[in-house]
Amino acid sequence: MGEEVIEIESAKGGDARRAAREHPWVVRFTHWVNAVSLFVMVGSGLQIFRAFPSFGAKIPQKNLLNWPKAYAIGGWLGGGLQWHLSFLWIYVASGLFYLAYEIFSGNYRQVLFVPSDIKGVWPMTRHYFLFGPKPVATEAYNPLQKMAYTSAIGLGVLSVLTGIAVWKPVQFSWLTWLMGGFHLARLWHFLVMWGILFFLFGHLAMVVLHGWNNFMSMWTGWKQDPDYISR
């Protein structure tokens, strides 16, 4: 993948540094819009879940978990719905904008996990979890990252589809049917959220581990001296 690379002269002399343009504007913009809207969708979604924290019958009702009100958005069910039904449009719009950009610009090659990435999965896993040697980086994202990001994008799409099945079980009855009915559609919607939160947990852990330079690249688009550029 040919990211744009520039050389930077050091002000005090010494070695020149290099910087690669990793993230185009659309990716950065939709990343942060998505971060905010995901936060609101999860927070308000949990508020909605609080109203019926079960996936079975109403009578008798068996509650799955009592999610604390303090960790939900909207104050009450109606407030949660207002947030959820407002931000879903921002969430979907930024998601579509991102997907359209990735597809038409060809930038999807940066994140899309493809069959040729399979062989790199084990060496990378060994490095991350079993102190194995670090495989040589040849592109911005390693195979495990691609797998994680591709899954996250897939979960994002599923979050919308399961959401439609729950919100519109009459107009989109075929979608609800495809998900195994209304009860299961609610369950999938809920589980997809946990899937996204699981990704987010790993994502944030990696951001912390990789430091400031990496974090700032999602703001400015530029990363200094990335390991995949040989000096």
Partner: protein, 235 residues
């Protein structure tokens, strides 16, 4: 590139993300309420666009019915507002040719429709019930309603109130319901007459109807809508 220029370049790229800050408006108390109101209104508009008058809500076999005693009773106020069935009538007004008081027998004289449909509560639970009654569209025809009017507004014996958009009122599965599970409505389920609208969420299925108005102007859409719930809430 000089170090200084690179810093400038990065700053410029950072500034290009300024539009993200617009989302912060949702955090400002002054704007929050109206933004959320507009967001909900947009969702309602989209929902009304998605609504198809000829698209039927799924129906279910008798074996899939929720047993009658497991069908939740969700009154907003009292379970029995003490309607006197002898004196009861539905008072019709507004954009209709034949306003006045309609007895239950007149509504029951219309063709009866029975359907096993899903009742979805805004809280997230659902039950499949068997409902019987007159098609709302037949009743609107009987009273000579102007079906180009926008709304049908109803009031209830327990002071509950609701509004249906005309497209939904004319939907073939929208019923003036006087039966559940082939038996006359019980008091706690809204006797003698309630709405059954399988294309709408639960709080739209008003019970203990007393008044019905065909109108273009509605001052208050519904009890729960006035607390902040969606006006359209089509399923």
């Amino acid at each position: 590139m000089k170090d200084r220029e690179f810093k400038k370049l990065k700053r410029r790229e950072l500034l290009k993300l300024a539009p993200v800050l617009a989302l912060g408006a949702f955090a400002i108390p002054k704007f929050q309420e109206s933004l959320l109101k507009n967001g909900l209104a947009f969702s309602d508009w989209a929902s009304s666009e998605l609504f198809r008058q000829k698209h039927l809500a799924p129906t279910f076999g008798d074996s899939e019915l929720t047993p009658f005693d497991k069908f939740p009773i969700n009154g907003y106020d009292v379970e029995d507002p003490g309607v006197d069935f002898e004196k009861w009538s539905l008072t019709v007004s507004g954009a209709v040719k034949k306003p006045g008081d309609y007895k239950l027998e007149q509504i029951q004289a219309l063709p009866r429709q029975r359907q096993n449909t899903r009742h979805v509560c805004v809280e997230g639970w659902d039950v499949i019930g068997r409902f019987g009654g007159a098609r709302f569209s037949d009743f609107l025809n009987m009273i000579g309603a102007d079906t180009t009017a926008k709304f049908v507004y109803v009031e209830c014996a327990d002071d509950y109130y609701e509004t249906l958009d005309m497209a939904t009122a004319l939907h073939p599965q929208t019923l003036l319901c006087y039966e559940m599970y082939d038996l006359p409505l019980t008091r706690e389920h809204g006797a003698p007459l309630r709405l059954n609208v399988p294309t709408k969420v639960g709080y739209k299925q008003a019970k203990y109807l007393t008044d019905l108005r065909v109108t273009n102007v509605v001052e208050r859409f519904g009890y729960w809508e006035d607390q902040g719930y969606s006006y359209f809430y089509g399923l």
